[in-house]
Amino acid sequence: MKFKINNRFKAVLGCLLAVGLLFSTPSFALQQDSTAQDTTVSATVDTAAAADTAAASTPMATDSVEASSATGSTASAAAAAPAPEKQIDPQVYKNMTYYILLFLFICTVVAALGKVLSIYELTTKMNGKYNPFANNTFQSVLFIVFLVAFLAMVYYGYAVWGSWAWRDAVTEHGAKIDTMFIITTVIITVVLVLVHLLLLTFPYIYRMRAKTKAYYYPHNDTIEKIWTIVPAIVLTVLVLFGFFTWRSITNVPEDLQKSALQVEVLGEQFQWQVRYPGADGIIGKRNYKMTTPTNSYGIDFNDKNAWDDIQASDIVLPVNKSVRFHIISKDIIHSFYIPDFRVQINAVPGMTNYFQFTPTVTTEEMRERMNDPKYDYVMLCNKICGSGHFNMQKKVVVVTEDEYRAWLSTQNKYFTEDLQKEFATVESKDSEGLTTASLN
């Protein structure tokens, strides 16, 4: 046994040495030597330092939210920049070596602890005090410890992260969803806690002992029926509740569909465009084949309803008024998602999806509620769409009816003068084409 221990140690130390040699190239062999001695000692220090740097990056990350949109561009700029000589700082390799050595050191410690344990076991065996169930009992105790930690984590999660995550919905249908969410949460929390109480205490209570024998209990039809039927009933309730809520959200009566404010949102890599219908209340037709550099939306201006369509910089909505969103996509699938509104529907090329809802809280009120003067609702893309996916957003502002009208009057039309000229020439060309065609 002793021989074996030595062997294992030799192997581990050999590995350490080999890795050390591998990385100690002549260029920085000196520094390597001076620090290598410290490696083992500073193992803990290293971890602490790593944690420090991690912590240090927190404020950095938070500060740079505004600069974030620049992240992508800087990255691409860096990529585009000519890099004739690319030298990676040797320090990089050295750091890596330290981390590997640190890891190997930890491995050594673990191996040593394992050996200490087995030596301890051997001595107890020699003294005739060995309890074959000692480890079994130890593991069962660990399950109890884990149970406590698990429950603490659940509590911490609900109390802290839950409060970070939760904001009441600010739409009519969102309130219904929230109620259902809370009910579901209560149900599953009860089940989660109960199941884990049983699952993790049973191992302790019924751990193997020398003289006990398990209870031969292959089945009990009554109990099994109970725990089939009870979940079935609970689920039926949830299903019915969910089904009717879902229908009420998605199945809007036709007259309400028509009376709502219509807004069209078009997703493209990696931005959103918003189109309001203008005075006539009707969104003009779009034909993707008419997309040109000036008419990037692809609006079909042959449809006169499109002439007064308004190009909006943000999504601005009047409070307490039903809005029907027409969601379309120019290129690939995106997803129109406003977390605060409990609204989401995909933007799919080749088809229009609809989502109708009524916002109930203005941005101003929400800012007061959140006690954050900068808070804004945001609509974000929630379907993987490429490199800019993580920053494809549009501000959503909910205002009073008056503010909404005022804002709307300041927005530009899609049918700009340039476009009108272009359209006129295209039309005349078309008619020419037609005449020639008919002549032929």
Binding site: A78, L142, K213, Y215
Partner: protein
């Protein structure tokens, strides 16, 4: 039927078979189910490590989006210029991580390994129905893995459209670099993989149906076999649909068809495709995609059923209920796929219907979880590392499964779809649960595979770090999802409301790194024990199933002599009246007169008469015929 012929061959196998074996036929192109199982397992482990490293890379990006890691440039080159990962490459990492984990690790690595190992062993068969097909199944899988890994060496990078590869993103190369050659390789790899699965599945189903030993009727099969059998059926019925999805996508990409494409203006370019529908792809994909999660989790449930029962020294509670719930899951798994598409523009009424079927599937799952707990109740629990992983698996299955009640509910899914809530949900219920099922299987059947024992202390160490690590990684993600943080975001820096999650992201990444490093303990344990582990005994866990009646040394045909006959179900643990706490399946009732129960005779009057005679002679209660 042909058992006499085979046993004849087996009796003389030393003389005829062994000396023809070369290294090539024994270790590489082996047709022996045990060797193929090991091949599947080791390939699966290699892919798991690869996919895990990918996940750690993108976790580093998520935790420190503003920080440079120059070392990344050393390994990734232009994908991480200046030590900062590019968004396209981040998406590639996410995509390939998902694909490899779901298909290569948890489908092939899990059911490939254990179906191959245990179906012949536990049923009492000499080998699979078609050893050749079995070999082909592995090699198709292997080539699929190679092609997938090779896509990292393509100029435009590996596929980056998410593991669900929704077109048009996956179909139009100008929309993302990964949809160039990388995506083609993905599709080729997946087609090969599906071929492998179908070959394997046909084999598993026919072996289970035709090659059970004498006495092994369906209701005497261990739950593992039930799980593998039903998994194979699910795979056989659903994987071919993915082929159709993949082939049509291939046509759209390479031949110019428009199955999935219509009305596209990508990067200012008006594409000629017309009349297709991206939703069609989603239907085809999820028709496999949802059964796939049961393909992943059912074998894990089967393995843990066996391990929990063996180590609680107690019969599995409600064997029939366990089988029926597996059957229920199998059937229902085919009619729930639409719950992935509630907000994609699928007809909302259809969404409502899918919601009903989805929530029904929670019932059999709940029954299984409760039955596990009932099995532990009043057991005599022995904590082998396998047992620890089995308990961990049940824990993940429950905590991950419960959040399915939100996501299966169409109305709640509106706000949770494609957020971190989904990531947390499926990583717990199918990711962690299945990985734990797989690890549980590895620890439990290692002696059967390699004839040696794994180190238990390292096993415990591995279990606790992984168990705690996995919870720390995935539990906080629920809350990010509730807040509306979308998945597959390269950085959480662009939105003020995501700022607060920076600290949580760092916690998650640290937990992931530590749990990832903990896998080194497993790898060391696994590979060093192949040569240096303690020699295993024939039945180290005192288990009942047939594989433990085979000799430790692997032989062609599994049993040196006759295949044992099965007389009883596999869960006679701690049967009152018997001197040991287990009675293997091949022990006839005539040898266990003191412990037989009326139920055991299944109405066989002659058996009851003999038992009663013995009871009279031994002053025991007379049983009713």
């Amino acid at each position: 039927m042909s058992s006499t012929v085979i046993s004849h061959g087996a009796a003389h196998h030393d003389a005829h078979d062994h000396h023809h074996e070369t290294f090539l036929t024994k270790y590489i192109f082996s047709q022996d189910h045990k060797m193929i199982a090991k091949q599947f397992l080791i390939t699966g482990i290699v892919m798991a490590v690869f996919a895990m490293v990918l996940s750690i890379l993108f976790r580093i990006q998520l935790a420190w989006p503003e920080k440079d890691f120059p070392i990344l440039e050393v390994f990734l080159g232009k994908w991480a210029e200046g030590g900062r990962m590019k968004p396209e490459f981040f998406l590639s990492l996410v995509t390939i991580h998902g694909t490899m984990m779901v298909f290569f690790v948890l489908t092939a690595g899990l059911s490939g390994t254990f179906s191959n190992l245990l179906i012949p062993y536990q049923l009492g068969a000499r080998d699979m129905a078609s050893p050749l097909m079995n070999m082909l199944s592995y090699w198709f899988f292997f080539v699929a893995c190679v092609v997938m890994v090779a896509s990292f060496f393509v100029e435009s990078g590996p596929a980056a459209a998410g593991w669900t590869i929704y077109p048009p993103l996956s179909a139009v190369p100008t929309s993302i670099p990964g949809s160039g050659l990388g995506m083609t390789l993905w599709l080729v790899s997946m087609t090969l993989f599906i071929a492998s699965q179908v070959l394997g599945g046909v084999n598993y189903v026919s072996t289970v149906l035709n090659m059970r030993t004498k006495g092994m009727d369906l209701w005497k099969m261990p739950l593992t076999i039930w799980a593998f059998f039903l998994t194979a059926i699910v795979g056989l019925l659903s994987f071919p649909v993915l082929v159709s999805a993949v082939v049509l996508l291939f046509f759209d990409r390479s031949v110019g068809t428009s199955f999935y494409l219509s009305d596209l203006v990508v990067q200012g370019q008006i594409l000629p495709n017309e009349g297709g529908s991206p939703i069609l792809f989603q239907h085809l994909f999820w028709f496999l995609g949802h059964p796939e999660v049961y393909i992943v989790v059912m074998p894990a449930l089967g393995l843990t059923s066996e391990v929990i029962s063996t180590n609680s020294r107690k019969p599995i509670f409600g064997y029939h209920a366990m089988v029926y719930s597996l059957v229920g899951i199998t059937v229902l798994s085919f009619i729930v796929w639409g719950h992935h598409m509630f907000v994609t523009g699928m007809n909302p009424f259809l969404g409502g219907v899918f919601m009903i079927t989805t929530l029904i599937i929670a019932v059999p799952s709940a029954v299984k979880a409760f039955n596990y707990i009932a099995t532990l109740w009043r057991g005599n629990i022995r904590f082998t590392p396998a047992m620890m992983f089995a308990i961990g698996m049940v824990s993940f299955f429950v905590s991950g499964g419960l959040t399915g009640l939100y996501l299966g509910n169409a109305a709640l899914d509106i706000n949770l779809h494609d957020t971190y809530f989904v990531v947390a949900h499926f990583h717990l219920v199918m990711g962690s649960a299945s990985i734990f099922g797989m690890l549980c299987g590895v620890y439990h059947w290692y002696p059967k595979m390699f004839g040696r024992m794994m180190d238990t202390k390292l096993g415990y160490f591995h279990f606790w770090l992984t168990f705690i690590g996995a919870y720390l990684v995935f539990f906080p993600m629920h809350f990010m999802g509730i807040d509306g943080v979308p998945r597959r975001y390269y950085a959480f820096t662009a939105f003020p409301f995501m700022e607060k999650w920076v600290s949580v992201n760092m916690l998650i990444t640290w937990a992931a790194i530590i749990a990832g490093l903990a896998q080194v303990a497993f790898l060391w344990n696994f590979f060093s024990s192949i040569w240096r582990g303690k020699k295993a005994t024939q039945n180290p866990w005192n288990a009942n199933t047939l594989e433990w009646t085979t000799p430790v040394e692997h032989i062609h045909g599994n049993w040196p002599g006759e295949i044992p006959t099965v007389h009883r179900w596999p869960y006679d643990y701690s049967k009152p009246g018997h001197d040991t706490d287990f009675i293997p399946q091949d022990v006839p009732f005539s040898e266990t007169m003191s412990s037989n129960l009326p139920h055991d005779f299944e109405g066989n009057e002659e058996a009851v008469r003999i038992q009663n005679e013995w009871n009279r002679a031994n002053n025991r209660e007379i049983i009713e015929g």
